[in-house]
């Protein structure tokens, strides 16, 4: 089942004209700068902006067409607002039951949703007594005990501090396998998206300008995301082994092995890692006498000159494209050219969860 849309909405000077798809399986990120229309698009999909025209279809069910507009309460959408939007006159349990009472076939059972989001000890609390992170976990649980056939998350982490984000990211990563419905995740944070999503829609000034797999999109130099100073490449590996003495974990990534600070998990478990373009450098040969543990063979595809002495280079690896940000001088010294074989030195790796300390 796929969520399909082609919608048009005018709001003052802003025009939303978005065409796209949210597939099942994995999280689809809706990425774009603030003011690009991310939240508005989500509201249109949920049925909260009633002046939108065009079409919205979920599988063979039509929510919006020239002939009909299904109201929000019949759309089977699980929506998590930026601030949670819990009903203030009800307790946490009351909020869950509010949704359950109106659901025919809840996506998750009450107990499942409670344990997935870890809110069992909050049930008797009032929303006003909760922290931001707790509120978002309750809002997520509440959206999962509805008839939702699609889950829309509107920057659920944006109001939280770094510490409150970690546990939520761990919960969100489990969503696709737990609920098996299309999940659309709005964010302006590449880091968040990089850790969570598998597909992406890029939106700019009310238009979806590109869509597809997350990694190809984030490394596409035609797109502004790839040119940002904090551009990054998400990569998927699996745990090969732990080296307890050195406090490291070996990650199998294609035929390569990456050594990263020790993480939890068993050998064989999948791990999502983020490689920031600025944490990669390029060398003609694989260094043997360096403190850098990780280097992988790459081939130069193309690059973008930022005009300020910096270049972002797109590299081909065995598993897909990779971005590295180097100085223009380095590019000249390397005699950078397409097809060139180089080694990417990875200075550090961003991890989805806190390294294990022991």
């Amino acid at each position: 089942m796929t969520l399909d849309f082609a919608i048009r909405l005018r709001q003052g000077n802003f025009q939303l004209e978005a065409v796209g798809q949210v597939p099942r399986g994995g999280i689809t990120a809706l990425i774009g700068p603030s003011g690009a229309g991310k939240s508005t698009l989500l509201r249109v999909l949920a049925g909260l902006e009633t002046r939108a025209t065009g079409h919205i279809r979920l599988g063979d069910e039509t929510w919006l067409s020239a002939e009909q507009q299904v109201p929000a309460h019949r759309r089977r959408v699980g929506l998590v607002f930026q601030d949670g939007a819990l009903l203030p006159h009800l307790t946490v349990a009351g909020n869950l039951d509010y949704a359950l009472k109106r659901a025919q076939k809840p996506r998750l059972a009450r107990n499942e949703a409670i344990s997935l989001t870890g809110i069992r000890n909050l049930l008797e609390q009032r929303p006003s007594q909760l922290s931001g992170g707790q509120r978002q976990r309750v809002a997520l649980a509440r959206s999962l005990v509805t008839d939702a056939s699609v889950l829309l998350l509107d920057e659920p982490l944006s109001a939280l501090d770094q510490q409150a984000r970690q546990p939520l990211i761990a919960i969100l990563r489990q969503l696709p396998t737990r609920v098996g419905i299309p999940v659309l995740y709005v964010s302006h944070s590449l880091e968040e998206v990089g850790l969570l999503a598998d597909h992406a829609l890029l939106i700019e000034a009310g238009r979806i300008c590109a869509s597809g797999g997350l990694r190809p999109l984030l490394t596409d130099l035609e797109q502004s995301q790839a040119r940002l100073p904090h551009a990054l490449t998400p990569i998927d590996g699996s745990i090969r082994s732990h080296d307890v003495a050195d406090g490291l974990t070996a990650i199998a990534w294609g035929r390569e092995t990456l050594w990263i600070p020790r993480v939890g998990g068993e050998p064989g478990d999948g791990v999502r890692l983020l490689l920031h373009a600025r944490d990669l450098s390029l060398a003609l040969e694989r260094p043997s006498d360096s403190s850098i543990l990780n280097s992988v063979p790459v081939q130069v595809l193309d690059w973008y000159d930022h005009g300020n002495g910096q270049c972002t280079v797109r590299l081909e690896t065995e598993t897909g494209a990779l971005l590295a940000r180097i100085t223009r001088r380095s590019a000249r010294l390397l005699d950078l050219h397409p097809g060139q074989l180089l080694f990417a030195l990875i200075k550090s790796v961003a991890l989805p969860e806190m390294p294990v300390e022991d």
């Binding site: 949920a46 909260l48 309460h73 607002f81 601030d83 009903l87 509010y98 109106r102 006003s128 509805t146």
Partner: protein
């Protein structure tokens, strides 16, 4: 006690007026709180008019309109309706107009302050519009609802000018407590006037005190 009937009639009038105004005031206040239509200002001004108008002015025009030859009374009579002058029914209609702002304004303020997100969240959770009204709007508006009802009730209880103009002083029909007090004072029965006045004072004060105590408790629970 001779004036028990008057007191009972006052309570009945206030109760009925509050009920009728609640049914009319809820949709009107909702419309006023949610609409930006230019007609809104006009309706707001009309609703607020009884706050500043001398009750005798309102009563006078109601008397003219309600009389069997008046514009409204003529039609009501033609349709077989009850007489509106010097009758209890007329008092209820007059009180509804007179106390309208006391019902509508607190409700309007409350509705305007309602969090739109709550309503949207409820919609995405599968609540239809009427369901949202009862499960989100009413519980979140209980402070404003209580204030509106109690103010309307207490204000109708203390009504005098309008009642005197269109109701007169018919025992069991239109002789409400405030009229009875006036009557007793006219007859120099200060003890009886004092008796009835004390009861009205006590009831009004008790009601308002209860409202403020309850609202305090509710706002503590919500924040």
């Amino acid at each position: 006690m001779a004036d028990a009937g008057a007191l009972f009639l006052s309570l009945k009038l206030a109760g009925l007026t509050t009920l009728v105004l609640l049914l009319l005031g809820l949709p009107l206040a909702w419309w006023l709180a949610r609409n930006r239509h230019p007609v809104r200002a006009l309706i707001e001004a009309v609703v607020a008019l009884p706050l500043v108008l001398p009750p005798t002015v309102l009563g006078f025009y109601l008397l003219v309109a309600f009389s069997p030859t008046g514009s409204v009374g003529h039609w009501i009579a033609a349709l077989g309706g009850p007489p509106l002058v010097f009758s209890f029914t007329g008092l209820v209609v007059g009180s509804c107009l007179y106390s309208l702002p006391f019902m509508v304004q607190p409700l309007q303020t409350q509705f305007a302050a309602l969090d739109r997100r709550s309503l949207e969240a409820a919609a995405t959770l599968g609540a239809a519009p009427l369901d949202r009204f009862f499960s989100v709007i009413l519980p979140q508006s209980r402070g404003g609802l209580l204030t509106a009802c109690v103010l309307t009730f207490a204000h109708t209880l203390g009504e005098f000018g309008v009642v005197l103009m269109i109701g007169g002083n018919i025992p069991g029909q239109t002789r409400v407590a405030s009229i009875a007090i006036f009557d007793q004072v006219e007859g120099l029965n200060y003890a009886a006037a004092n008796h009835l006045s004390l009861i009205l004072l006590g009831v009004s004060f008790g009601l308002l005190l209860a409202v403020y105590l309850l609202k305090r408790r509710w706002s503590e629970a919500m924040s």
